[in-house]
């Protein structure tokens, strides 16, 4: 953690499609981190998270960054993109990181970093949320498995079957027809995870996968996606302790840098 001037805290808030994360930094490191679902009222949720936070510099990132910046005029807000936020956050946690993967609720991003930590290249999925957290959530619901244990469930498969469709709608009908053929749900779950892993790897290869690779975002909690990525890439995938906080942490670090520059 960089040296921060006493009494001066900075905050980063990552307003994503599924969840909102807030990280507040002080001189001694992150002293406050919270996560809350986005719901249909992201601003109301932000309001709750921001209670008691006054006068400090806030950097907003994620889908809701503009909305947040327009609404929270009482604090000193500016915005950065998720690309920069994740790059900063991952690099802070792992100063050697060269590639960052973030799979969130409706976005997948891959970022290639220079020796010095600068963003060299990035890729993002376009308007379709295929292969993101939303896909996993939808499929877990279809198989009636809680999202949190979907990865574990898939790891109990005894055979690997290909599910070729990445489109949520088509993949569901593929899964349904596999069920109708008597396929074990664990194997279907594995097939769905493999579909995500393959799509992610294709995107990673477009920017080039240089080690070490840091995997952040909510989907990094899923042990099956992590295992499949490691298998396919033939290299370890680093998952931070709190992978979904990396964007908010990066935003807070950016705020810290701005504060230092001004003093």
């Amino acid at each position: 953690m960089g040296t921060l001037f006493k009494g001066q805290a900075v905050a980063g808030i990552d307003i994503g499609s599924r969840s909102i994360e807030l990280v507040v930094l002080s001189a001694d490191g992150p002293f406050h981190q919270v996560k809350t679902p986005t719901t249909f009222d992201p601003l109301g949720q932000c309001q709750k998270l921001m209670e008691g936070i006054n006068g400090c510099r806030v950097i907003a990132t994620g889908y809701g960054r503009k909305l947040f910046a327009e609404t929270f005029g009482r604090v000193n807000v500016s915005t950065i993109t998720e690309i920069q936020a994740y790059a900063l956050g991952a690099r802070f946690l792992y100063p050697e990181a060269k590639t960052v993967l973030d799979i969130g609720g409706q976005d997948t991003k891959v970022i290639s970093l220079s020796e010095g930590g600068k963003v060299l290249k990035f890729e993002m999925n376009d308007r379709c949320a295929a292969g993101t957290g939303k896909f996993l959530e939808f499929m877990a619901t279809a198989l009636q498995i809680p999202l949190e244990s979907f990865g574990e469930f898939a790891l109990r498969s005894d055979r690997r079957i290909q599910i070729s469709s990445m489109c949520t709608v088509f993949a569901e009908s593929e899964a349904t027809s596999l069920m109708a053929r008597g396929e074990r749900p664990e194997n279907i779950a594995m097939g769905l995870h493999m579909a995500i892993a393959q799509r992610t790897i294709a995107m990673l290869r477009r920017v080039g996968v240089t080690s070490p690779l840091v995997f952040a975002g909510g989907v990094a909690h899923n042990p099956c996606v992590v295992r499949l990525l490691e298998e396919e890439l033939g290299q370890p995938v680093i998952v931070p302790d709190k992978p979904d906080m990396v964007g908010a942490l990066g935003a807070a670090l950016y705020a810290e840098n701005l504060t230092k520059e001004q003093i």
Binding site: T81, E82, I83, K118, V119, L120, F122, D126, R127
Partner: protein, 424 residues
């Protein structure tokens, strides 16, 4: 646009209600994207006026010309030699094809995975929304891609269509083909207009259109100044309007605007705040009112200082040699000038790569945004080579593929902003 044109539009068999809806949307869109800009040039008032009268006064002018026996020729591509049409006393208009209206109608006759530009011109025709198409005595297509090629076959069920064959390589035999195509086009235009093209009329047409190109080249030189004296959106609009405005009047107005720009450049006045990132666009054409990407870029802390595109430098970079004395000599000069177009329909197309790198270096940009319309295979494929060429010159590139819909605005914004952050 007032309803005083209703009678004219009705005569042109437009769907008046749908057309009124289109104009309303266009007006609002223009207001949001153009009129909201700060520090615009006085000279842009003319362009604002032309846009406000795009389906009004300009159509009236075309109708008046038709009443005098002139013929209107509509085109979709910078390959169609306007010199020929002008020399035969005709009026050429570039048909825009940049709006989403009419897509539903278009998808009745076209596959869904067709590019937005093709869907747009077919949709405008089928929905009876475009007074330009309806004013045309001849619509000239070309074989720049398979989608357009096949779409013209369908389009010809509804309008008089003539198709020019564009070579796909640049060997001596391709030039022979192109020359014969230019001659065939000349005969067609002479037949449509009833006028013979003479050495004198062609010489004059070449000179006049070169003047228009010179004015646009001057604009390009001036806008390259640091700080940028005019927004990318305004420059794009000027290029877009060059396709359908009267060429003599347009050239005079743009020269005036350039005088104003020159003053700005002399005094070092910029249109964007200090520290704004200079970027260049490259790729597919952006037809009126397709201002989506430039608007996103210029709302993300960047300014577009050049367009490597058919509605940009591809259309203005090369002049026709004015040294030809005979009719055939001038036709040769036209053939040579148009053969230099570096469209992605050619293979190989290394000139384009060289031109992009040179332009990016000359303009001193931080990066290039490559713009491809979804399902435009030639540009989508070429993006790979463009990125490689730029990367060899240490210029970052962001590749964007999109269409005319607004549903991906936020995703595009995130990408463009991240690119701007990255190039800082």
């Amino acid at each position: 646009m007032s309803s005083s044109y209703n009678e004219m539009w009705e005569k042109l068999n437009l769907d008046l209600d749908a057309h009124a809806g289109l104009l309303e949307v266009l007006g609002k869109f223009y207001g949001d994207i153009y009129m909201s800009q700060q520090g615009r040039l006085k000279g842009m008032e003319y362009l604002d006026f032309v846009v406000s009268e795009v389906h009004g006064l300009r159509i009236k002018e075309l109708q008046d010309a038709k009443a005098l026996g002139k013929k209107i020729v509509g085109t979709f591509c910078v390959f169609i030699p306007e010199e020929i049409v002008l020399a035969a006393g005709g009026v050429q208009v570039g048909l825009c094809a940049g709006a989403e209206a009419g897509t539903g109608e278009a998808e009745k006759v076209l596959p869904r995975n067709t590019c937005a530009l093709i869907k747009s011109f077919v949709g405008f025709k089928l929905s009876k929304l475009c007074p330009f198409i309806e004013s045309c005595d001849l619509i000239v297509g070309e074989t720049t891609c398979d989608g357009k090629k096949k779409a013209y076959e369908i389009f010809s069920d509804y309008s008089p269509v003539y198709v020019m064959e564009i070579p796909q390589m640049k060997n001596a035999s391709d030039r022979v083909l192109w020359k014969s195509e230019v001659q065939r086009f000349k005969s067609q235009v002479e037949e449509t207009t009833g006028n013979k093209i003479t050495a004198d009329s062609l010489k004059e047409a070449i000179h006049l259109l070169n003047n228009r190109r010179r004015a646009l080249q001057r604009l390009n030189r001036l806008r390259a100044a640091v700080p940028a004296p005019i927004s990318g959106r305004d420059s794009l609009l000027i290029n877009q309007i060059s396709f359908y405005d009267d060429p003599v009047r347009f050239t005079a107005k743009i020269e005036e605007l350039c005088d104003e720009l020159e003053e700005r450049v002399k005094s070092g006045t910029g249109v964007a705040p200090e520290g704004t990132t200079r970027l260049m666009l490259s790729g597919c054409p952006m037809a009126v009112p397709n201002w989506k990407l430039p608007y996103i870029i210029e709302s993300s802390g960047a300014i577009v200082v050049g367009e490597e595109s058919c509605i940009g430098t591809r259309n203005t970079r090369d002049l026709v040699d004015e040294g030809g004395m005979t009719l055939d000599g001038m036709l040769d000069a036209i053939v040579d000038r148009y053969m230099r177009i570096d469209c992605a329909c050619f293979t190989p197309n290394t000139e384009r790569l060289d031109n992009i790198v040179k332009m990016a270096q000359d303009l001193n940009v931080k990066g290039v945004i490559h713009y491809g319309l979804s399902f435009c295979q030639p540009y989508a494929m070429e993006a790979y080579k463009v990125e490689k060429a730029l990367s060899n010159a240490s210029i970052p590139m962001l590749s964007i593929e999109t269409d005319y819909s607004m549903e991906d605005m936020e995703q595009l914004k995130t990408r463009v902003e991240a690119f701007v952050e990255m190039t800082r």
